[in-house]
Each structure stands twice: as C-alpha cells, then as structure tokens.
C-alpha cells in the first residue's frame, strides 16, 4: 500500500433521493489514503448522508460509493462496518455496558482473544486521556459529555480500522472541551495517519482538522480545497462560511 496517493474512497456520480428530495446531486469525490477530508456544509446540505454511505448505513439512489475500489453494494456489510470506526455527535455508547466493554465491542465481535482485547482497551483509554484504572468499570452515565466522546473515539479506534468516520462528534460539547478534543484528534491524526472523513458545519473546525475540505451545498460539491486554498475561495457559499470566522 506504498503510495499515499492511492484512492481509499471514491464517490462516483452519487445521487440520493428520499421522498422526492434530492439530497445528493451527482457527487464526485476521491479521498486518498491517510488524508482527513472534512465535509463542510449547512444542515441539510447532504454531508451526513454522504458519510453514512461509506459504511453502508445508506446506499446511493444512483451512482457508486467505493471503499477500497469496491462498491459498498458489493461488500459484506458486516465486514465493511467492522473495518470502519464511526463516531457520532450523540456518541451512542451502550448504557448497559461498562466503558471497558464499550471500547472492547468491535474487537470482541471480531473474535480477538481476551488478553489482546484487555491490553488494547487499556492502551486506547490511555491514548484518549482517560485513566484505565479509574474508568474501565464505570458506566457511560457516570461520565461527562467530553469523557463520553473520548470513549466514543476509543471505541471507534479499537479494532484498528483502516477508515474513520466522524459525524459532528464535538458539536454538543462546550467550547473548551471541544478544543481539547480537536487537539487530541490532531495528535491521533498525525500519529495514526488513518483515512478519516469528518462532518462539521463549523468552518473553524474544518480549517483546523482537515487536510482537505469539501464544501457541500444543496447536495452539490461547491469547493474541494486544502484549508489554505479554502480561505481564498470566492464562491458565495464559501464566502458565507468564511464570513462566520
């Protein structure tokens, strides 16, 4: 897998219609391995829809979404999903599982041996800044919002996925915690170099975290640029977002 330019993900002429609404309109997008693409847009711009097509929670009405050169419709969905980390704003930890059990979920589903899972869970909690001794046996309701989302990130990383999906993961956090978690995201990004897709409506977050930014507007791709290029964009939707800085 030498070249960092090999295509890990691709949207090929992807449209998505639901209830007569065109949510995605002929989206074409390639994401190279190891990059962090931020999908930026307003509510209803189609960014979450695009994200959910990558792990087969949704499928294109027309066109194809390719993961590792293979259309998601041709994947065994269980296998596809177990190879993709997924973090959402509501976190979605299992309330009846301890923190340790939550992080261990995908390795357990994949049938890792018990001692390897235990070692991995401790390592991950450390990585996201939670002391394993203190947190392993707690339940999600005993944690703050920021701590819960750290566990959400640890859970997504647990089975060493090749791809990470983030759906406004820090949107519900207070500004200070949000910046802390963004810093941690950057540290993990630079260390792990995993292909990541990050959905947000916050242009500041997009500029900070992305290696590329894709601006979606009404289901269309308006701008695809590096953060440095993005701040020079002249299109009206890009201007509207830049005006919020």
């Amino acid at each position: 897998m030498g070249s960092s330019l090999s295509t890990a993900l691709e949207f090929r002429d992807v449209s998505y219609t639901i209830g007569g609404n065109l949510v995605l309109d002929k989206l074409n997008l390639r994401i190279a391995e190891g990059r962090t693409l931020v999908l930026l847009g307003r509510s209803g711009s189609g960014k979450t829809t695009a994200l959910k097509m990558l792990n087969g929670l949704l499928f294109p009405t027309t066109g194809h979404v390719l993961v590792d050169q293979r259309a998601t419709t041709d994947w065994d969905l269980i296998q596809l999903r177990r190879g993709i980390g997924y973090v959402i704003q509501e976190v979605g930890l299992f309330p009846h599982f301890t923190i340790g059990e939550n992080v261990a979920l995908v390795p357990r589903l994949k049938g890792w041996p018990q001692d390897r899972i235990a070692a991995r869970v401790s390592e991950l909690l450390d990585q996201v800044g939670l002391d394993p001794v203190q947190f392993l046996d707690r339940y999600p309701r005993q944690l703050s919002g920021g701590q819960r989302q750290r566990v959400g990130v640890a859970r997504a990383l647990a089975a060493e996925p090749k791809l990470l999906l983030f759906d406004e993961p820090f949107g519900a956090l207070d500004p200070v915690t949000r910046v802390e978690l963004q810093d941690q995201f950057l540290a993990l990004r630079d260390r792990l170099r995993k292909t990541s897709i990050f959905v947000t409506h916050d242009v500041r977050e997009a500029l900070r975290l992305g290696t590329e930014i894709a601006l979606l507007h009404r289901g269309r791709l308006e701008v695809l640029a590096t953060p440095d290029q993005f701040v020079q964009s002249s299109g009206p939707e890009a201007q509207a977002f830049l005006a919020t800085l």
């Binding site: 269980i78 979605g92 299992f94 859970r155």
Partner: protein
C-alpha cells in the same frame, strides 16, 4: 376458625389456580415476546395484531369464556378453554410492552450498534433486549397480576381454581366461601407483584 376440610380444599384450589396462571403466562410470554419482536421489524403488522389483542381485552371475561365453549378444538368445558382465554387477555400487555421497550431504545445506540458491524441477531440479544428488559418485565408483571384475578372467573366454565369458592359463595349467599376464594387470590396477586418488583429492582441495578 376455618374448618380443616375447607383449609384443605383451599390449598388444593390455590394449587390449581397457580398452575392455571403459570401455564397461561408461559404460553402468553412464549407467543407475546416473539410476536412483539416481530412487530418491531414489521411495522405493517402492528395495527392488525395490536388491534386484535386490544379487541380481546375489551371483551368482558365472562363473555369470552362463554364464547369459547362452542368453538371446536380450543373450546369446550374445562381448563383448556380457560387457558386459551387467559392467554388472549395476557397477550396485549406483553405484546405492547415488548414493542414499546425495543422501539424505545435510543436511536443513537441502535445506529452505533449497526455501524460497529453487529448482525441483526447481535443487535437484538446484546442491545435491544437487555435495554428493553425493564419495560418488557413491566408488561409481564401487569399481565400476571391481571391473570390471577381473571382466572377466578374460569371456575364458571369448570376450570377449577379459587373462583370455585367465589361462585359457590355467591350462589349460597355465603360470605365465608367468597372470602375463602377472594383472599388467597388477592394474596397471590400481591405476592407476584412484589416478586416482580424485586426482579425489576435487581435488573435496574446492573
């Protein structure tokens, strides 16, 4: 004081009553749980199935026992008919609470489970059923307590149980006989209600 012959008869009737309730509840749970789960997967079946269970509940119990008598195979006089009727009554709370419990699982939790690569079976057994358990149990609790009461009426079609005393007491205007049926039935209901509340507290802790 209660004469020994009456005490012995009460013990026997209580036993019959418990068997009647246990068998009915076992069948109602064996039907209601899988059907409730099916309803979470097939929204189109909800209206007809819940409607059927609802209608069953609205039929006065004495009338339902009467309706069943002439029906071949499941009807007739005796325990079998009573059990059919009791199952029909117990179905609605179990069905409705199973459906409500599973549909009440947080959408983000369900989406996470699917996105992490759980199979449908894993989602059901590891996420949906454990999280819905308190609601489902509440349904079984209501159904059990109601069935203990309704089962007294089953004596009218020869199914035995504590209702025998009550009907006999009414016919002979004998309050002692009525109480000999009503008090053990009430105690059974209270006891099972307490038992369920104990289990509910146990699973709420974990």
């Amino acid at each position: 004081m209660i004469p020994p012959y009456l005490l012995q008869e009460m013990a026997q009737s209580t036993g019959e009553h418990i068997v009647l309730v246990l068998v009915s509840m076992a069948i109602a749970a064996a039907l209601g749980l899988p059907l409730g789960i099916l309803l979470t997967r097939r929204a189109a079946l909800r209206t007809p199935l819940l409607g059927f269970a609802n209608v069953m509940q609205t039929i006065p119990s004495l009338a339902l026992f009467g309706f069943l008598i002439p029906i071949p195979f499941i009807g007739g006089i005796g325990k079998r008919t009573a059990i059919v009727a009791l199952v029909l009554y117990a179905l609605l709370p179990i069905l409705r609470n199973t459906l409500a419990g599973i549909l009440g699982v947080d959408g983000a939790v369900r989406e996470s489970a699917i996105a992490m690569g759980m199979t449908g079976r894993q989602l059901l057994w590891q996420v949906e059923l454990p999280l819905a358990a308190p609601t489902i149990l509440a349904g079984v609790r209501i159904a059990t307590v109601t069935t203990i009461g309704t089962a007294t009426i089953a004596a009218a079609i020869g199914a035995g149980g504590l209702g025998v005393f009550i009907f006999r007491g009414i016919a002979s205007v004998d309050t002692a006989q009525i109480l000999a049926g009503a008090i053990p039935a009430a105690l059974l209901a209270l006891l099972s209600d307490g038992g369920f509340s104990w289990i509910e507290r146990r699973i709420a802790v974990s």
